[in-house]
Structure formats: C-alpha cells, structure tokens
C-alpha cells in the first residue's frame, strides 16, 4: 500500500538526543526514508572567543566543549600549545594528566552506559552508572575543586599537585569499579530485549566508517583496530600496557562492547599510573619567555608565566578522547593571543554517519544507534 511520506521533527528538545539536537525525518509509515540533522542550538562561538583570550585564558572554555569528559579537552588544547611553544613538561605532571584523562574516560563510558540504557527504556543502569560516576567526580573535586569543568591541566603541567590521600582513595575506587564492570556485563549483556534492540542495528562497515570520518570507540566497533594513543603516542602512553579494543561487527552492540572493554583497559592504565607515580614537580619550572632582567625573584615566578608568546607557526595536535579523535588546530602570530583556534571535535564528525546508518530502520533504532555513537552536544555545536 502506498502512503504519503510524513515529515517528522524529532527534537530539538527530546530526552534521547542528549541535549538540543534535531532530526528532520522523512517517514514512510514507520520506516525512516531520509534523515537530516539540524544542530547549532548550543553554538557559543568557542573558536571566535579563543581569538580574544590569551593562551592560558582559553583553557576553561575547552571544559565546556565535551562537558562529560572535560580533562581530555584541557589536555588536547594544552598539548597543541605546548607543541607550538616548545614547553617542556615534567614527568610527574604527565603521569597526573594521564591519570585524570583515563579516570575521565571511565566517567564518560559510565554516562554512556547509563544514558544509552535509559534511552532504550531501562531506568536502573543510569542509577548504577551515576553511583560510580559520583565517586570519580569526588576524586576530581579533591584534585581541583571542580566536578565537571576542571580547568586543571595548563601549559607546562597541572594546576595543583595531587592532594594528600588521593592515591589511596583512587585505589579504593578502582577496586570497587573493577567488580562493577563485571556486574554491568552480567546485568546487561545477555539481556534478550537489549540484544534485540542492539544487534544488527545501525550497521556501518569499516571502510564506510573511515570515509565518514568516524573515530574512537565508534570506529573500533567497526573493526578498525586504531587508537591514537598507539598510532601517534603522546604523553606517557608508549610506556603503558593496554589493549586496543575492537569488534568487527560494526553494529550498535559492537560499539557498546568496545566501551565496556575500554573501561577495563582504562582501569588497568590507572593502576599502572597510580603505582608508578614518580616524585618531582607537577608543573614546569622553565622560565618561558621571561627576560632575566625583569627582576622578578625566581621564587615568585617559579611556575609558568600566565602570559606568554609562542613563536609564529601552526600546529594540528590530536589525542584519543573518550569519544574519538579530538584535535586542536592552533595558529600563532607571535602575540599573546592565538590567531586562530580550530576544534576538530569527535562528536561532530561521528555524527556525520548517522543518516546513512539509520535509513530504512525505525525511530527506536535511531535512538539505539544514536546512543551508541555517544555524542555530547556541547562538543557538536562548540
């Protein structure tokens, strides 16, 4: 039977879009025939703002991109600036940075797990996910006083050294968390309704996923065994032992499984970092760009200056954020402010593939596929 196609707006205010995102769907009965993504509701002009701030002042703005996992945002930006300016970072600072980023990866995947299952209609897992997340957020609060928008990693190191009693508390969290991941797997993985909703839904082949610019766990769910932490190692990752998790199926279930495995790997990394934390300073003592004749006693300016001028040049630096490849393109013209900052956000580029994944499926499948792409709208709209 021929029916008239219906234009359906899903969002911008819809609980399953994790923020304000609008899908313009052309429906043939219950089947999605065409999908357009409309975004920009949360656009704050972060890149333009960056041109008006000094290099250090821009760090808090990066927190507001992917607010679920803000530490990697801080780091990605700071790494670009450090490469541009040639700033050296002490080993202890790199250890603390990796510790923060991996802890944040666990937090991100917990939120992913909870919100995905909530979208699919199960309301318990988000309680579990947020229970563990709360403990991790308390650790972050102990570290820098903030729970989500940290402003912790800065050029040259981190803002504060680890507080007293942090490592024991972290060990406690890890011990608890390792058991919890097993619990989630037992509760969720074999669930028949869950499997029916996830298996063979939103399938994308490896070749297509690469062509669509997907990165991170979403790409590894299509069987591409890639990880920037391995391909272009940065920080202390070359010395750490971890697996690159990937599943060949390319469906929603594979993308979900990648993230469950990654939580375990992150905990494994965390344990190595916590056990081998070297002594030393948590920020560089390099007197970058300060002329000796300024007369500031070295005790006052022992840490990195607030205003500094990297030499003219441009850099594209990328890291493996929990959601995928997070890159910052920073152009310096030799003044105290960046000439241009371009943010390559993983959520934005992963979302490109959504229309091709869900055409021919139904709206509940869109929600499942969209949930496993793991998008934060602050990161999409910037």
């Amino acid at each position: 039977m021929e029916t008239e196609q219906l234009l359906l707006n899903m969002g911008p205010v819809h609980p399953s879009t994790h923020g304000v995102l609008r899908f313009k769907l052309r429906m043939d009965g219950e089947i999605i025939r065409d999908c357009q993504v409309v975004m920009g509701y949360l656009h704050r002009g972060t890149e333009k703002l960056g041109e008006m701030k000094t290099y250090l002042q821009f760090v808090p703005y990066t927190d507001r991109l992917d607010y679920i996992a803000a530490m990697p945002n801080n780091y990605a930006y700071v790494k670009a600036v450090e490469e541009l300016a040639g700033i050296e970072v002490p080993e202890r600072a790199e250890f603390i940075r990796v510790l923060c980023m991996e802890l944040n990866r666990v937090v991100n995947h917990l939120v992913f797990l909870g919100s995905l299952l909530l979208d699919l209609g199960a309301s318990t897992p988000i309680m579990y996910g947020f229970r563990e997340r709360e403990k991790a957020l308390q650790l972050f609060e102990m570290l820098c006083g903030a729970r989500m928008t940290f402003n912790y990693i800065k050029p040259g190191g981190v803002r504060e050294d680890l507080p007293e009693g942090f490592i024991p508390k972290l060990n406690e969290f890890m011990k608890d968390m390792e058991k919890r991941v097993d619990d989630y797997e037992q509760l969720i993985n074999g669930n028949e309704i869950f499997l029916l909703r996830m298996k063979n839904i939103g399938v994308i082949s490896a070749e297509e996923a690469v062509n669509y610019g997907m990165t991170g766990p979403s790409l590894r769910g299509s069987g591409v065994k890639y990880d920037i932490r391995r391909l272009e190692p940065y920080s202390i990752y070359p010395d750490l032992d971890f697996k690159v998790c990937s599943y060949p199926e390319g469906d929603s279930y594979a993308r979900y499984m990648v993230r469950i495995d990654e939580m375990r790997e992150s905990l494994h990394i965390l344990r190595q970092v916590a056990d081998n934390m070297p002594p030393g300073k948590a920020a560089t003592t390099q007197r970058y760009g300060i002329a000796p004749e300024t007369g500031i006693p070295s005790s006052v300016m022992s840490y990195f200056p607030r205003i500094f001028t990297p030499p003219p040049g441009e850099v594209y630096s990328r890291i493996e954020a929990p959601k995928g490849e997070l890159g910052f393109y920073v152009v310096s013209d030799g003044t105290t402010k960046p000439y241009r900052i371009k943010i390559r956000s993983p959520s934005f580029c992963n979302l490109v593939a959504i229309p091709s994944m869900i055409v021919g499926l139904k709206i509940p499948d869109l929600i499942a596929a969209f949930g496993t792409i793991d998008v934060v709208l602050g990161d999409v709209d910037r």
Partner: protein
C-alpha cells in the same frame, strides 16, 4: 622522503611548496588542482580526512586539509591559498564523505565556498545569519536575533525590539 615531497616530485606543477606543519608534512597546492591531488592522496593510502580548517589572513584565505593513513600511519597536510574576494575551492565530498559537514562548517564560519558540494548551507548558525563570524572583519557589535517560525525554521532579524523586554 615524506609524503609531501613525494607529491612534489610527481606533480611539480600543482605543488607550489612543501614544508612542515610543526611535525607533519605539508604541501601547498594550486587551488585548481586540489581535487586531482586529493584523489592521488587518497590513492596513496590517506583514507581519513581528519579536519578542514579555514583561516582568514586578512589579505587572503587559507584552507588546510589534514589527512591520516590508518595503514601506513602517516600524516599529510594540504594547503590551498585563496584570494580575498569570493574565496572558492573544489569540494572533496566525492572522495571523503566527512567533508560534507567539515566544509559546511568552514563555509558557515569562515565563508569559503566549496564548488561541487551537494548541500552547501549553514550548519551551526541559522540560515539567514549575516556575516561569517571567524572572519577578522566580522562585526561583533551587531546584534542578531533568532526566533522560530511557524514551520519550525529559524528566522533571523536584526531588530530585537519585539522579542526583548529590555528597552
């Protein structure tokens, strides 16, 4: 020999310069040949277009494409230089589907047109927005108001008197 120098050797007419983007090989391409060179770059194994960056240098524009090869673990950046008036360059959508949104974003915020793009409309800002914010001559003091029309589409106006309570 890095990938940019290889390109220079194979296409001496199209590649006007090679260099480094801090630590990544960079080739400056004549804008007419971008699509052809990008096709070769894809054949060389660069299967991932990572980012498209448009930069306003006041007297000219630059568009930089960062490629990555998953198999060879290599980086390559291509740069095209565009004139100030009506900057336009070929779209890479036919080669890399991710270019769809990356180019739309560059069009939206920097105002560079990509010829051959199937749907070159604004992506982050609403249709009807005036100006391209990441241009250096963008007027930051001009207020623009967005309301939602009856069909759900955005309406941009420069007159906020009907919307705002403040006088």
């Amino acid at each position: 020999m890095n990938a940019a120098e290889e390109l220079k050797q194979s296409f001496p007419e199209s590649v006007t310069g090679v260099g480094l983007q801090t630590n990544k090989p960079l080739a400056v391409i004549k804008k007419e040949d971008l699509l052809m060179i990008a096709g070769k770059v894809k054949e060389m194994g660069f299967d991932n277009l990572s980012v498209v960056t448009g930069i306003d240098y006041v007297d000219h524009f630059e568009v930089i494409y960062n490629f990555f090869s998953y198999n060879n673990k290599q980086n390559l950046a291509l740069k095209v230089i565009l004139e100030r008036e009506n900057p336009a360059v070929d779209s890479l959508f036919s080669l890399y589907k991710v270019a769809d949104w990356l180019e739309r974003e560059t069009y939206d915020l920097v105002g560079i047109r990509f010829s051959g793009h199937p749907n070159l409309v604004r992506i982050l800002l609403p249709d009807g927005w005036e100006g391209h914010p990441l241009r250096k001559d963008y007027d930051m003091n001009k207020e623009q108001w967005v309301t939602i029309g009856e069909d759900g589409e955005d309406i941009v106006s420069t007159d906020g008197s009907g919307i705002l309570r403040r006088k």
